[in-house]
């Protein structure tokens, strides 16, 4: 059998030694919607980047039975292959139409652009595929779903016949997701082939014709959707039945440690990113902030942790108003913060593991300005062993895998004897082993009477850890759920979209 796209024996080893793809074979039929399913780090994005020419790997690729070599996205484009990345590839300062025609501009012999012509063609494209966007808006100013539409139009304008979408629904509300699926079905009807990379089982079942499942860099099975169940796919993805259950006792909430009252943060373009939010975090309780990304969670976290000082309202930590306080002081009050981005904020990737571990209290561990090197190094050694970090003291942290890097961040933050832990997407892009370690540690902190605020976009994580959930939508709290077992994913989804609101009691 020879499909539209045949990938044979693809093996990709990154310079760091990580094997992302092991001898993967993949076959895509013309006109189908094909899912590439797998957990984070299973190699699904990598194999698609290889197909799109963004990564080089060993192996062969055939298109319509003809062997092709795809060395660059440009070469892929010439073969009719287009990709929409998870992080949009738009020039923020360019307008929508400039982005759509970026690189394939209409121009005369002198290189002068034909602006009107391009806008007209962009309008035609929007009309044809039922994707309506303001073509003169700057890409940096539009919503995620609009940006995604611009991306898809960009790919279509280049004459792609095969569209690869990487986690397209991660930034969308369920309604927007439905809309996107409608548009994708329309494209399929017009003869396009679509590959979507995802780990969301429901979406696979709702949209796709076939699914290829990947695990630890290998292709572990290809199925027609009609022949396979959700449970089977998830079993293949994980290699064992999904068990995200974390063992924990019922919470024993104590006094309120952090109280946020009427917090308002101005966002981009004059709109409020957070408007009048009040909540409190109690000792001995994991308070989970749930919501689609970009609904004000980040601004709340940044304000609480002292990284944003421009807000109105009040944030009290252990009774102390932290307005205008330096981060060092807030941390002295007992704040620890696991930030969402370990590469840019959570670690200094150019420094050693040891230097990263001592960042919070190096000043306290010095005499006459000289660091107590021996003591700090011994302690760091202990932490490396304790958290099972695979690395040595002097090794640059940037050379570690995501999971090990995150363990360093967690070790540093949790061992600083905090009273409140703000964990922002603590397990994103981390392997299963590290997830388990991190979840266990967080629960242990709760049991030791600390207050925990967990921000997570991963509903499975929310349900397995939260003792209480507050839901953010458009900068406001739409639900404050004290009994987590009383809601299911569907109901939580309705709150996340702001379709329904719960009477929120301030506490």
């Amino acid at each position: 059998m020879s499909g539209y796209i045949e990938m044979r024996g693809i093996t990709k080893v990154y310079p760091s030694g990580v094997v992302a793809n092991k001898n993967v074979n993949l076959s895509i039929e013309k006109g189908e919607i094909h899912a590439i399913a797998g957990e984070n780090g299973a190699g699904k994005s990598t194999i698609m980047k290889v197909l799109y020419g963004a990564e080089k790997a060993d192996g062969e690729i055939f298109l319509d039975g003809r062997k092709v070599s795809i060395n660059s996205p440009r070469a892929a484009g010439a073969l009719g292959i287009g990709m929409v990345y998870q992080h949009f590839m738009l020039v923020g300062q360019f307008t929508a139409w400039e982005n759509i025609f970026f690189g394939i501009e209409e121009k005369n012999a002198l290189g002068v652009l034909k602006k009107k012509e391009m806008i007209r063609r962009a309008e035609e494209l929007c009309e044809k595929y039922d994707m309506h966007v303001d073509l003169t808006a700057r890409a940096a100013d539009v919503s995620a779903s609009t940006a995604q539409k611009i991306e898809i139009l960009t790919v279509l304008a280049r004459g792609a016949q095969l569209l690869i979408l990487d986690e397209p629904t991660a930034v969308l509300t369920p309604q927007e997701t439905e809309q996107l699926f409608g548009q994708l079905r329309l494209l399929k009807k017009s003869g396009y082939t679509i590959i979507i990379i995802t780990h969301k089982l429901k979406e696979i079942m709702a949209l796709c014709d076939r699914v290829t499942i990947m695990r630890q860099g290998e292709n572990v099975g290809v199925y027609n959707i009609s022949d396979v169940s959700e449970a089977e796919i998830s079993r293949l993805m994980v290699g064992r039945d999904v068990q995200m259950k974390v063992d924990k006792e019922k919470a024993q909430p104590g006094e309120a440690l952090l109280t946020v009252t009427d917090l308002t943060v101005r966002g981009k373009g004059g709109r409020n990113a957070v408007s009048g939010v009040s909540f409190s975090a109690h000792r001995g309780e994991i308070l989970c902030i749930a919501g689609v990304e970009g609904n004000g969670q980040r601004e709340v976290v940044r304000s609480v942790c002292g990284l944003n000082r421009k807000y109105t309202g009040e944030i009290r930590f252990g009774g102390v108003n932290v307005a205008g306080m330096k981060i060092r002081k807030i941390r002295k009050l007992g704040l620890s913060h696991i930030p969402e981005d370990r590469m840019t904020t959570g670690c200094n990737t150019a420094a050693s593991i040891c230097d990263n571990l001592i960042a919070l209290d190096y000043a306290e561990n010095s005499r006459l300005g000289f660091l107590k090197t021996k003591k700090l190094r011994e302690r760091s050694c202990g932490q490396i062993a304790d958290y099972g970090i695979k690395g040595t003291l002097n090794q640059k942290i940037g050379m570690l895998s995501g999971g090990n890097m995150q363990k360093v961040v967690v070790a540093r933050e949790l061992d600083s004897d905090p009273a409140l832990i703000v964990a922002d997407q603590p397990t994103r892009g981390v392997d299963i082993g590290a997830i388990e370690t991190i979840h266990k540690r967080i629960v242990a902190m709760r049991d030791a009477g600390k207050a925990v605020i967990l921000v997570s976009a991963d509903l499975a994580e929310v349900f397995s850890l939260a003792d209480r959930i507050i839901v953010f939508h458009d900068g406001e709290i739409t639900a404050d759920i004290t009994d987590v077992s009383s809601v299911d994913e569907v109901q939580l989804g309705r709150y996340m979209l702001g379709l329904e609101r719960m009477e929120v009691q301030h506490g």
Binding site: I327, I330, N348, D355, A359, L360, G369, T392
Partner: protein, 362 residues
């Protein structure tokens, strides 16, 4: 040698040892490349003969006088090199090293003949140097504070400040505190106003000791103290630094003040150790030299003396060459430029030496 490497290998893991040895090997290769380039420039651009090249390469070793010249030339390089290293480590590209050196030298040159007298202690010139240091720190506060408080780019502001310092100092030399018997220079320094000599015949001052001390203290400061730690973290990743609670604003300020102070001290030491009077009419370029040294030392103050000696060796060679042959010593600037590019080239550092070569190097 083998023994030392062996012991060294037992202390650190195999991988680390390999990478450190690799770095040393690469550094040696770059030094060799720099020298080869210098020779090529002399042969081609300077139309020099092989005799010229021999003068360039060997004359610094000829006698104790040229050898001390190498040491003397390395003094300002060490100070500005350490200054630039510390500031670069904090992520600050501050050019005030040039102005700081200039003003430090000027203040010391003006004060020394006034304060010192026949038989006075060597502490008097040292005090004059410290006054110069203070002046440099005070002026250096301007770009530092502007950067920390308002985000004014320290590169352009410090560069402009250098020209302001140049003209203001010249104003003072010409009109206020110049030598009444001569125009456009300060008073002549008698021996008692100078720093003591280590070797009177070769005019080698104790400045070299101060310079090495500055490098040692600089390295200790950067790698062993809490302030040095804060500087390194801020320089690598300011976002990380402020997130863990390091006051990045004050790091920006004090790293630049230390840089300004070191350059001012260096200027004073150089003037009172090796000049008879302040006679500069233009900026002497020692600040830019600091960048050459820092890049060769990979911003590690401990390596600054080695880098400074190497560059000083090249300079003395070039000076000797222009004395005895027709090749001009401006060639040294061309070589210096190329050294910065070579040592800064990630392309070259990233190049993998094959396994066999590394084995052979051991």
């Amino acid at each position: 040698m083998v023994d030392i490497i062996d012991r060294f290998r037992r202390c650190v893991s195999g991988q680390e040892a390999k990478s450190v040895l690799g770095e040393i090997a690469k550094t040696l290769v770059m030094l060799a490349l720099s020298l080869a380039f210098a020779v090529a420039v002399i042969l081609v651009a300077g139309k020099g003969s092989f005799e010229t090249v021999r003068v360039f390469l060997t004359s610094p070793f000829e006698d104790s006088y040229t050898l001390s010249r190498v040491l003397t030339e390395s003094i300002p390089l060490m100070f500005t090199g350490v200054a630039v290293s510390i500031m670069s480590r904090a992520g600050q590209f501050n050019m005030f090293v040039e102005g700081g050196f200039f003003v430090g030298a000027f203040v010391a040159a003006v004060l020394a003949p006034e304060l010192a007298s026949e038989g006075s202690s060597f502490l008097v010139p040292l005090f004059c140097i410290l006054c110069g240091t203070l002046a440099a720190v005070l002026i250096g506060y301007i770009p530092a504070k502007l950067k920390a408080a308002l985000g004014v780019d320290e590169f352009v502001s410090s560069l402009m400040l250098n020209y302001v310092v140049l003209w203001v100092v010249l104003y003072f030399v010409n009109n206020v505190c110049g030598d009444p018997d001569n125009t456009n220079v300060t008073k002549y320094l008698e021996d008692y106003a100078k720093l003591p000599f280590l070797n009177q015949d070769n005019e080698l001052s104790v400045g070299i000791l101060f310079a090495v001390l500055a490098a040692v203290l600089g390295a200790l400061f950067l790698y062993k103290t809490k302030w040095g730690y804060a500087i390194r973290m801020t320089g690598d990743n300011p976002q990380f630094a402020s997130y863990v609670g390091i006051g990045t604003g004050s790091v920006v300020v004090y790293s630049q003040l230390i840089g300004a102070g070191l350059s001012g001290f260096g200027g004073g030491v150089y003037l009172l150790g090796n000049y008879y009077r302040f006679s500069w009419r233009a900026l002497p370029n020692y600040g830019f030299d600091g960048f050459v040294i820092a890049i060769m030392a990979r911003n590690n103050p401990a390596l600054v003396p080695l880098a400074s000696l190497f560059l000083a060796y090249l300079r003395v060679g070039a000076q000797q060459m222009s004395l005895y042959t027709d090749v001009q010593n401006e060639i040294i600037y061309i070589i210096q430029g190329v050294i910065i590019i070579l040592f800064g080239a990630k392309f070259l550092w990233d190049m993998k030496f094959s396994r066999k070569k590394t084995e052979a190097a051991k």
